[in-house]
């Protein structure tokens, strides 16, 4: 077992553990904090997987903007300090479904890839990714820009409420 392996196991444990806390904690804001930890650990995983740019963009977009927005909304919807009761529904059926789907996914992946060893890919730096996006992925990129614009307009319309 090398140092990287231990690092990977630790990162995975942190990610999975904090994800579990997101689902189980009764403090709403703390759920957001645990989500930050989970996303940060995943960003570190991306770094280890040599996806450098994606890792930093993950921190920038997810941790820096998306979760802040979520916390913002939490606070606007009266986030109490301390546990909030009645946060959970019946656990048993959901857990059953979840475990089934999770096990299925894991089995699928493992059988699909049979623990194959991988070659070291070139690191995903900004330059390489940019070339790739603007050569082979231009159409999806443009479609996404339209999606973002639509989301922007939609959010303004929804949050503006009705105007007489």
């Amino acid at each position: 077992m090398t140092v990287t392996d231990i690092l990977l196991l630790a990162l995975g444990a942190v990610a999975a553990g904090s994800a579990l806390r997101v689902v189980t904690t009764t403090h709403i804001v703390r759920a957001g904090l645990w989500l930050v930890v989970a996303l940060g650990a995943m960003a570190a995983c991306y770094l280890v997987l040599t996806a450098e740019l994606v890792a930093w963009v993950q921190v920038l977009i997810y941790v820096g903007a998306v979760v802040v927005l979520l916390l913002f909304a939490t606070m606007l919807t009266r986030a109490p300090i301390g546990p909030s009761p009645e946060l959970d529904r019946a656990r048993f059926p959901a857990a059953l479904i979840g475990l089934g789907s999770g096990g299925g996914l894991a089995a699928l992946f493992i059988f699909g890839y049979r623990w194959g060893k991988a070659e070291l890919a070139a690191p995903g730096t900004a330059g390489v990714l940019g070339k790739e996006i603007f050569s082979g992925w231009v159409l999806p990129f443009e479609v996404l820009s339209i999606l973002l614009l639509a989301a922007l307009v939609g959010a303004i319309v929804v949050s503006r409420g009705e105007r007489s």
Partner: protein
């Protein structure tokens, strides 16, 4: 020795552990000293602007004032509000400070130097996407403020925290966009390479004639520079954008409930953030650690050894002066004005500017027909925008009919209330018209 002194990306990551340790401790010390100095500097400059001496008691010309204040802060009682979320309340200032320190790790303070015989760049580390790291740290720093405000369990801090979250997210967008033009021009996101790209002016062919463009980006990319600086002021919650801690509205904003060392940490983070955005501004737009042009012409060694640290610090201090200057002169914006300014002015201008820069860059690399097509396109676009610019909406005069109020409410003035001219202004006008005449009646 010449400009080959500037470090390449490959020069990073080979340091011995004790060199890294020295650099880390050095940057830590630099930031703490800069914070102490900036607090004093700010008070002194604002004092001068308001015709008073500023701090002048502790140490020579008051230099040790902020150190004394810091010590006093450390010995104060640490108060934990009863309703606070204890863990989060404790973590929040730590998050702020850690993010503030981390962001500085990629600032290039100088070229290659030798520390105890080891040749190493005067910069802790560099990444191919280093500037994104600064932005990411800025994004994480928001958590400190939001969580601090929320965990205090009190209204004013919560409002301050919410304002700050909205403000920093909005201005981070403008800030990120303003840097895009620099990325495109420099062709890199690594700070050391951006500094190296500004070392020499580039030769550009415009309409057949060769023009040498200035090397530093603040001239060539002036809109980016201005937008970056404005959004940096917003991002660091400084006046006139200091809405999260607007004293007259929110007591102290997110840190109202904080005291002692935790408050000191927030304060430290704020000042380090100021230093960091100034340092990033220096790196991106003001040529980084390189000496300004007149010095390099008569002194070739200005960019060698440890001298760059001096130029870098001087540039940062000049930018910090602008921060203080803004604080000393401008009144605080209202929240809606502030948001409108960010989203409706800074971001659109930025987008158009990026389009322009990209067009010019494509034109510079293309052959003549394409180039003239692009320039012609810009001209058509410009004319189109001017022609179809929406006219200002006529403001409808407010109705004179009094508003229907429910029983028992306070009387309010009518919407179209005309205030009679103040007798004072008349007197001033009068005095201005005839400066020699003495005022008729003194009070």
């Amino acid at each position: 020795m010449n400009l080959a002194e500037s470090p390449k990306l490959e020069d990073f990551g080979h340091d011995v552990w004790w060199i890294i340790l020295i650099k880390v401790v050095g940057i830590f010390a630099f930031l703490v000293v800069m914070t102490l100095f900036t607090i004093w500097y700010e008070r002194k400059v604002v004092g001068r602007m308001q015709h008073r001496p500023g701090p002048n008691r502790v140490g020579p010309i008051g230099l040790l004032q902020s150190l004394a204040d810091g010590l006093k802060l450390a010995f104060k009682e640490d108060i934990m509000p009863k309703l606070a979320d204890k863990a989060v309340f404790f973590i929040a200032p730590v998050i702020s400070t850690v993010c503030a320190f981390t962001a500085f790790s990629i600032m290039p303070l100088g070229g290659m130097v030798s520390i105890f015989g080891e040749r190493t760049p005067l910069q802790l580390t560099d990444l191919p996407v280093a500037v994104l790291l600064v932005l990411a740290c800025g994004g994480l720093g928001i958590y400190g403020i939001v969580l601090g405000g929320w965990a205090s369990g009190s209204t004013y801090p919560l409002l301050g925290g919410l304002r700050s979250a909205a403000q920093m997210i909005s201005y981070e967008v403008a800030m990120g966009l303003s840097i895009v033009a620099v990325f495109m021009t420099a062709g890199s996101m690594s700070t050391s390479e951006i500094v190296a790209a500004q070392a020499n002016g580039s030769q550009q062919e415009i309409f057949g004639s060769t023009v040498t463009l200035p090397g530093w980006y603040f001239l060539m990319l002036l809109p980016s520079f201005l937008i970056y600086f404005i959004s940096a002021v917003g991002e660091t919650n400084r006046a006139p954008f200091d809405l999260p801690e607007a004293e007259s509205e929110l007591v102290g904003g997110f840190h109202t409930e904080y005291s002692s060392l935790k408050f000191a940490l927030f304060f430290l983070a704020e000042y380090i953030n100021m230093v960091t955005v100034s340092a990033l501004c220096t790196t991106l737009f003001l040529g980084g650690w390189r000496a300004p042009a007149p010095i390099t012409t008569w002194w070739a060694g200005a960019n060698e050894g440890w001298w760059p640290l001096l130029w870098f610090t001087v540039k940062v201090l000049i930018l910090l002066f602008v921060f203080v200057w803004l604080r000393g002169t401008l009144p605080r914006l209202r929240y809606d004005q502030f948001m409108r300014f960010g989203w409706k002015v800074l971001v659109p201008i930025n987008l158009v500017w990026i389009l322009l820069v990209a067009g010019v860059r494509v034109a510079a690399n293309a052959d003549n027909t394409v180039r003239y097509a692009i320039y012609g396109g810009f001209a058509v676009l410009l004319v189109g925008i001017i022609m179809f610019w929406p006219a200002k909406k006529q403001v409808e005069p407010a109705s004179i009919a009094p508003e229907k109020l429910p029983e028992g409410s306070f009387p309010i003035p009518p919407m179209d209330l005309v205030v009679p001219p103040s007798p004072r202004t008349k007197r001033i006008e009068h005095a201005a018209a005839a400066p020699s005449a003495t005022p008729e009646q003194g009070e």
